[in-house]
Structures are given as C-alpha cells and as structure tokens.
C-alpha cells in the first residue's frame, strides 16, 4: 500500500497535442526519467513565467501505466484558468514542462483487485478512469467493469471511439453514456444519437434507476466504485451507490478542486 512519490521535479517534453473535444486537449509528455505509476494517479505540473511567477496544478494521467515512458494528460480549458489556458493557447509539440509525480494512491485501480467495479464520472472526470480502463484492457483483465459516463452532449464524450471499441469487443465491459442536455428532435444532436449505438445512451442525469439497471446488465454487483467529477456530482453519485447497498469503504472518490 505504501507508495513512493517521485519527489524531484523533472523536465518533460510535449510530443503531441490533440483536440479531444471543443474544451479538452490531450497532451502526451515524454518523461526524461521513467516513472512507473498506477492507473488513477496524477502528476503535478509547474509553470514559471519569465519574471519568476509560478503556478502549479495537478492533472490525472489518462494513459495506461503499461506505457511508463510517456504520459497523456487531458486538460480542460477552464475560464480564468491560467494553467489550462496556457496549455490550450500556447503549448506545442517540442515544448518543455516541469513535472513531478506520480502522486496519490487511493484513487487507483489494478486488475489484482479482482472485484467487479463500477466507475462513474462526469465530463473530464473520465481522465483517471480512462487510465484504469486502458490498463484493464491492455492486461486482458476479465474483471467485470461498468462505466457510467455523464456528459452534456455526445460531442463531449471524451475517448468516445476508444470506449465504444472496448465495449464492442469486451462482453465484460459495460458502457452507459448519460447525456444531460436533451437534444431537440430532428436536430444535429438527435441525428448523432442514431448513429453507432454501441453501449447504451440515456438522455438524463445518472440516477438511482439508471444505476440499478446498469448493475442488472452487468449481472454482478460491483464491489468497488470509483467516482470522479465535480464535487456536487461526486456527492450525489456516492449517495446513490450507498443507497444501492454498496459499502462505504468500497467507494473511492476524486473531487475536482477549484
């Protein structure tokens, strides 16, 4: 259970920048020092302005720990966010970033924890969970896993193709997308719903009945839960899982800071 944090700052090189949605970019960073991490952990990034002003933020790794030489981070553009706006507006491949980690250890998953797992996330809360699902996939784990992923629209479903491919090929991985912005009939959004029905889509917020139905589809009651998103979302989802009979100590949460 003991985890060593890589204490020293190192300089990482940005090797790719990818627009994952209108508000989220994926950054791949190559690390000078190979840094094993666990699925769900995060890294601290530190930016320094020419006059010495510094800002630090934490970002969850989205890539699998099976590829420890580089890490992928999903950075959502936050209004007034000095670090996220720098990444969105200025960072290009070849740029150097100061980084240290991995950090955290409670919100982590490994296939060794051979318990059916439910993961619930809102928006960019998919980030640490994506690392877990990629790790599960690349290790060939047959641990039953259920992902309930809440976004506003289809266009906001990060890693959509990859998640649908996983769900298509893996009968033990169940995907439910909850879309909270109801599309107008006949609109562009509604047309998008009709395409590619891999996984299930629900046109409402995640609620207790959606969770119960998803548990029934999974066919086994999850014994471990990971919830990541905004604070109110996490609060509400944790209460649903407690009400659904999951044990308090089986529920791990990661709440976005400000």
């Amino acid at each position: 259970m003991s985890q060593t944090v890589t204490q020293t700052w190192q300089i990482a090189t940005v090797t790719s920048v990818h627009d994952e949605s209108s508000r989220v970019k994926l950054f791949t960073l190559e690390l000078a020092h190979i840094t094993p991490f666990r699925a769900g952990q995060h890294f601290d990034l530190r930016l320094t302005a020419p006059d010495g002003y510094q800002a630090q933020r934490s970002y969850s790794v989205t890539s699998s720990p099976d590829e420890p030489n580089s890490i992928e981070l999903a950075i959502e553009l936050i209004s007034e966010g000095e670090v996220s706006s720098y990444f969105h507006e200025a960072v290009e491949p070849g740029d150097k970033i100061e980084i240290r980690g991995p950090i955290g250890g409670h919100f982590t998953w490994s296939p060794v924890a051979a318990k059916p797992v439910v993961m619930i996330c809102g928006g960019s809360g998919i980030a640490p969970i994506m690392s877990m699902l990629r790790h599960r996939n690349s290790t060939g784990s047959d641990v039953p896993a259920l992902l309930l992923f809440s976004t506003r629209t289809v266009a906001d479903i990060l890693f959509r193709d990859e998640l649908e491919t996983m769900a298509h090929h893996d009968p033990k991985f169940h995907l439910v997308n909850a879309l909270t912005r109801i599309p107008t009939i006949g609109s562009v959004f509604a047309k998008k719903f009709e395409q590619g029905q891999i996984g299930r889509r629900e046109m409402r917020r995640i609620d207790r009945s959606m969770i119960d139905a998803a548990f029934a589809e999974l066919g086994v009651k999850p014994a471990r839960a990971y919830i990541c998103g905004g604070s109110d979302f996490v609060e509400s989802m944790a209460n649903h899982l407690l009400n659904a009979g999951m044990a308090n100590n089986s529920i791990r949460t990661e709440r976005f800071g400000p």
Partner: protein, 200 residues
C-alpha cells in the same frame, strides 16, 4: 525552468502572504477520498487515548458544555488552494485534556474518523491552542461535506491534517503514518515550507 510563453493571470495580491505554490480561493472546495459521512449527533462521541488508555470521552452535549473558543484563520490545502479569513467555533484540545484531568501528552497523535480516515501530527501541534475540534463554520453548524458535525482543525498545517468526521485522538510515543501519509504525503505538512510529499 522558465516557460517563455507563460505569463499567468495574476490575481490581486492577497492582503496577507499565502504559502509558496498556493493560490487564493474564495469558495470552499470539498475534497474527500470517499463518501461524505452522515453522522447522527445522538450517537456521536469523541475519545482521547494516551498510550492505549482511554482518558476521556465526550458526547455531543458534553462537548458543547465545555468552554468554546472562536478562531479566525487561513486554510491551506495541499491541492494548492488557500482560503483566507475563515471563522470557526469549537473546543481546543487543551480544554479537552484539562477536562479529562490529564497532563499534556508529548510525542505524536493519530486522529481517527468515521469512514476510516486517519492522519498523524506531533502532539505539540494540537496543544497550546493550535488544534481544535470545531462544529461551527461562519456562524453555522459545520456541513457534513466539510466534516460536520465535528472536525479537527489544525490550521497551521495543510488541510488534510484537519481530519473531517473526527472520532478520536490517540496519543503515542511513536509517529506512524495516517491515510494520506502512507500514500507518500508528508508526515508533518507545513505549508510555509511546502511540505507536500514525503521528502519535501
């Protein structure tokens, strides 16, 4: 290392300095490793142990019957936000120890909470008014998501040391790591020395 294209969005200078690596936050973010604990005040109690011996135990009513202290302080979270000018009411650990009729312990203390959370600090950091059990924030009962009905408050250390949903303090001669400390967070956690992780 300088990031040439980074200038930052400077916020107005805080009225008082904040620790290195921190930024000022107006809201009161909630960061917990698990579900919010829902605690029945009627069933709540709090105990102090010294070297495995229970020296005092308090119910909600007996805690509230003790001398209450008000504290105006700044908070510093290891996730980089600081919040200035917060107001709390509660009972100092000194008051509890005096009520139990015991000498001020030395060594270390482990805080234990509903939900299984723990955190460790030196005993000296909860005495002389430095540590309190608080039940009121900004004049209102402390909300469950912020650790209510009662949380520990040790404002001179990073906020993970101010354990939510506190149920006991165990004083011992030996220091041992609590929940986050076992995951590589600092054993002491002084924000002014930026002691975020083990070797900081």
């Amino acid at each position: 290392m300088i990031n040439n294209k980074f200038f930052g969005r400077r916020r107005p200078e805080p009225s008082r300095p904040i620790p290195p690596g921190q930024y000022l936050e107006d809201g009161f973010p909630v960061l917990s490793a698990g579900p919010t604990q829902r605690i029945d005040i009627a069933a709540w109690d709090f105990t102090i142990e010294i070297n495995d011996k229970t020296v005092g135990s308090w119910s909600w009513d007996s805690l509230n019957a003790l001398t209450q202290s008000d504290i105006h302080t700044d908070l510093h979270c290891v996730t980089k936000w600081s919040k200035q000018d917060t107001d709390w009411r509660g009972v100092t650990i000194d008051t509890l120890l005096a009520d139990a009729g015991v000498e001020t312990p030395t060594g270390f203390v482990m805080a234990s909470c509903d939900g299984g959370y723990t955190t460790n600090v030196p005993a000296a950091d909860v005495i002389d008014g430095k540590g309190l059990l608080v039940h009121t924030y900004d004049g209102e009962p402390l909300a469950a998501e912020h650790g209510g009905p009662v949380r520990l408050l040790i404002p001179h250390l990073y906020l993970w040391k101010s354990a939510k949903w506190i149920r006991s303090l165990k004083f011992t001669d030996q220091d041992s790591p609590g929940f986050w400390e076992r995951y590589g967070y600092h054993m002491y956690g002084d924000p002014w020395r930026e002691q975020r992780y083990t070797n900081d």
